[in-house]
Symmetry: C3
Subunit: 155 residues, 3 copies
């Protein structure tokens, strides 16, 4: 199965890529690399699971938010590459987890993004990853994640 087929089989509907409200781009391609801007997870136009891990947000909800970031990134890289089937691999993801004092399980949260990418791309979905705990995220989001993909062929 191709990545596009896997996304369909998983029942995932990729969202529209919103035009950034500010002076940046949702993605930039340079050579075969596509850099995707930091994504936060939203639902019906609202931030999904606002708050901090270790306080308002538990690990399971944090994982859902991280998965939502990865789904948004799929929509962006599909726009960049024309199709998810033109993605050669996930290169890098950085997962910023809003963390209350003493919360140290950022990797479990980040897995929500990593596992989605593996489910879609197989071994090519296993990127180099960092997961860190930050103080605050835009709009009170509990997770923000950025991604680098390698794509094949022309845009």
């Amino acid at each position: 199965m191709t990545p596009e087929q896997r996304v369909a089989e998983l029942g995932i509907i990729l969202p529209d890529v919103p035009k950034p409200r500010w002076a940046y781009a949702p993605w930039v391609r340079s050579g075969d690399l596509v850099f995707v801007a930091g994504q936060i997870a939203t639902e019906d136009g609202r931030v999904l699971h606002p708050g901090k891990l270790g306080r308002e947000v538990d690990v399971e909800h944090g994982r859902e938010a991280a998965r939502g970031c990865a789904i948004s990134a799929l929509a962006v890289v599909r726009q960049a590459a024309g199709s998810l089937d033109h993605v050669a691999r996930v290169v890098k993801l950085t997962v910023f987890v809003a963390s209350a004092e003493g919360f140290g399980d950022q990797p479990a949260v980040a897995n929500g993004a990593s596992e989605l990418l593996r489910d879609v791309f197989g071994d090519a979905g296993l990127g180099a990853r960092s997961a860190v705990g930050v103080a605050e995220l835009p709009l009170g989001a509990c997770v923000e994640a950025e991604f680098v993909f390698e794509v094949r062929g022309r845009v």
Copy 2:
């Protein structure tokens, strides 16, 4: 107008690139990508607007600091590329905003950097961006930003 002409028209004097006091480089070029080290904004040798957003520093001052980071990055990439006119585009910027509890307007702060880059490079200045809220920054700075540029031709 070229980027160098736009910088001049904006009345921006690019600072000297200080030699790093520690064991790192202000920039590294690999292929067509120039990775610029994290920049903080200074004025007369002192950190501009120290403190945290949502506490000592308001959004307007945070934007000024972010703009200062971008101006420092222009100085660095000019050194790397020989001229800003050899910059093909801004690829990526990551804006770390020192954030007090409850501050969620990192994107408005980061706009200080993004808008300067757009003013200098036009659409080629729109990079993929992440903006996150961190606990503390070097020397008490309120913003630190790092940049990836794509450049043309030989150094």
Copy 3:
């Protein structure tokens, strides 16, 4: 002397690269760039110097942890490139320092990583660097660092 010889002369034994417990890769190569996942320093299977700078952990211990991150990264990039002698240069490092309120000396901590890379690779070890202070890190680590290397030739 080559990097492999310098590592030996420094008496550094590179650790085994653990298989990630989660759905990510310790490194990904794309073109000549090797992206290394975020590293934390461990000793005998336990996190080295857990806690935050400016509270439980002093700068000297933070430097040791940062050095440990760089040593882990050397093990990873050796696996990616076959030998440290195939590393063309350090391109980028990002050092996340768990920081208590008011701690602003992230660069001194990050030097533990930077100086090790310089000792091993000479001027080619001077990467573009960011050092930021984050709220929390996985497993209570005081430092996490990620790295981009440029390598030569085939894997």
